[in-house]
Amino acid sequence: MSDSWQSSNIKPLTEWVNLQQPPTYSEYCQHGGYQGAKHAVLEHTPNEVLEIVKNSGLKGRGGAGFPTGMKWSFVPMFAEDDENAPENKYLVANADEMEPGTFKDRLLLEGIPHQLVEAMIIAGYTIGANKAYIFLRGEYHLAAKRLQQAIDEAYQENWLGEKIQGSKYSLELYVHCSAGRYICGEETALINALEGKRANPRAKPPFPQVAGLFGKPTIVNNVETLSNLPHILKNGIEWFQAIAPNSDAGSKIYGACGRVKTPGLWELPMGPTLREILFDYAGGMQDGLNFRGLLPGGASTDFLVAEHLDTPMDYDSIAKVGSRLGTGGLIVLDDKNCPVAMVLNLMRFFAQESCGWCTPCRDGTPWAVEVLTRIEHGKGRIEDLDTLAKLCDFMWIGKTHCALAPGAVEPLRSALKYFHDDFLQHIEQGCCRYNPESLAKRTQVATAGRAVS
């Protein structure tokens, strides 16, 4: 294991995670829980907390990597007696974790629900929200149960409800279980879903910070992003920045799935190399398999290959080699799985989950599925590669209503680049060499052809 990443054992987010029996209120408090919220609500003004979060360097952990403090600073603030103040502002935790290959928030939701509740008190206090929702994906039944238990306890202990801990601040917190759609992870689509509508993303501006849920100022933050807040408030900015040995701040929950020896999740200081995550933590490839490539941050990020393995997994370094940190969950491709079939599986997902609002996405993603299916089944034509390249252009940023279609393009365009030979082989030989049935059929045809001739 590399020295630099072994030397730091600071795991603020996951240190007290217990998936069997998450910490109760009193257990959570024994581990320093609600200290951060206490500092925020009883000792600081909202503006002071905002400055702390801004200066901490915390960036969004949900995929886009936007600085959290800056996002909050767009929320209009009003004096108590200001007539123009909106009747409410809202805070929403985005717990709609549906990015394929991503399962980090589930760990926090099921393993330490009080941490998110505390985080939402801090965030809600800062932006002046009196109502908050946890937008939870419908499939996370256990998380729903455990969050509700934590919320009930927090109400009993006056960390939620009227006049929290004797302060002037009040907060109501609800869990909303989604009825299931990937696009709900997009913040304006999520807001529409909370309003009981189809989850089509909204046009921006206006940005949700100004006009979001029910037309009121709204902040939507990812679960992992929020979960950093109690620790930043409790331990300070310098502590938070010192966790990461680079220009980024804090830790990140990294994951790995696919045919690696020990798939799982690891909270590490921001910025280990891909190689370290893949080999030191995920144990390398399963016996008999070789590494082909990986998606570094969920399904909607560009493939990276062997030459990129020494790239640090931080926002800037991964962007420099042409991909995105995304959610930090590696999806690893081995040499016995077909890259074309992998991209086909991803594209099917995006086609199914497209909300249908804009044409490039609604028509482009199923078109890509059709072409990829043809190629995978050995019926591809050489001009299909041009069609796919064109589709990547049609669905790119600026031509679609939201980021879903560009997200679908990322694995496709990078696969066309790094696995070009595999696409060609499918087309030229009319079969998939990774698929025994497809190969057998191809051999039969060839043999039959010889018999006839």
């Binding site: 394929p100 109501e172 759609r181 009981g196 029910f214 799935c257 690893v332 992998m342």
Partner: protein, 174 residues
């Protein structure tokens, strides 16, 4: 001048007192009544297994929203069933992590065992088979969800065993 006869049907009586209470609770914590639409669909589905046309009309009446709008919502979301489903709805994850871990074999085994394809229900009404976008169990792939239960590290054999166990369990209830 020709007039068109219209009939006003009050659908609210179609819902039970329990369902109405649950829906009213959801409406009370939202800013608008129609914001409770998704929760209302889930309430009815929990009681009846799925959302029929009658249920749809009843909810739209109760929440004072157009039925077309509610139908748009009901058909948008993956976890709202607008057709009758079996006692157990199998949601087999078909996302990338499960794909890489050979969930195809699990799917084939389930299809052969139940003699149904995706979107179909067994003739005895015990099982419906659906695919599901990533279930968030990627380190324990392949996975499926039945009811609130997630089943992990599936093999073709273990998946069939789980279905047999569930079928037997339902049987003892009767």
């Amino acid at each position: 001048m020709e007039t068109i006869d219209t009939i006003t049907i009050d659908y609210q009586h179609y819902l039970t007192a329990n369902e109405i209470a649950a829906i009213e609770h959801e409406a009370s914590i939202m800013e608008t009544r129609e914001a409770a639409g998704i929760e209302a669909l889930k309430v009815v589905q929990e009681h009846r297994g799925w959302v029929s046309d009658d249920s749809l009309y009843a909810i739209s009446d109760l929440l004072a929203m157009p039925v077309a709008q509610l139908e748009g919502v009901a058909t948008f979301y993956n976890l709202i069933y607008r057709q009758a489903v079996g006692e157990n709805v199998i949601h087999l994850c078909d996302s990338i992590a499960c794909h890489l871990m050979a969930t195809d074999g699990v799917l084939t085994a389930i299809k052969q065992h139940l003699k149904i394809d995706y979107g179909q229900t067994t003739t005895d009404g015990k099982f419906t088979l659906l695919s599901n976008a990533c279930l968030g169990g990627c380190d324990k792939a392949p996975v499926m969800m039945i009811g609130a239960e997630h089943y992990e590290h599936l093999t073709p054999e273990s998946a069939v065993e789980i279905l047999q166990r569930l079928a037997a369990k339902e049987h003892t209830h009767e």
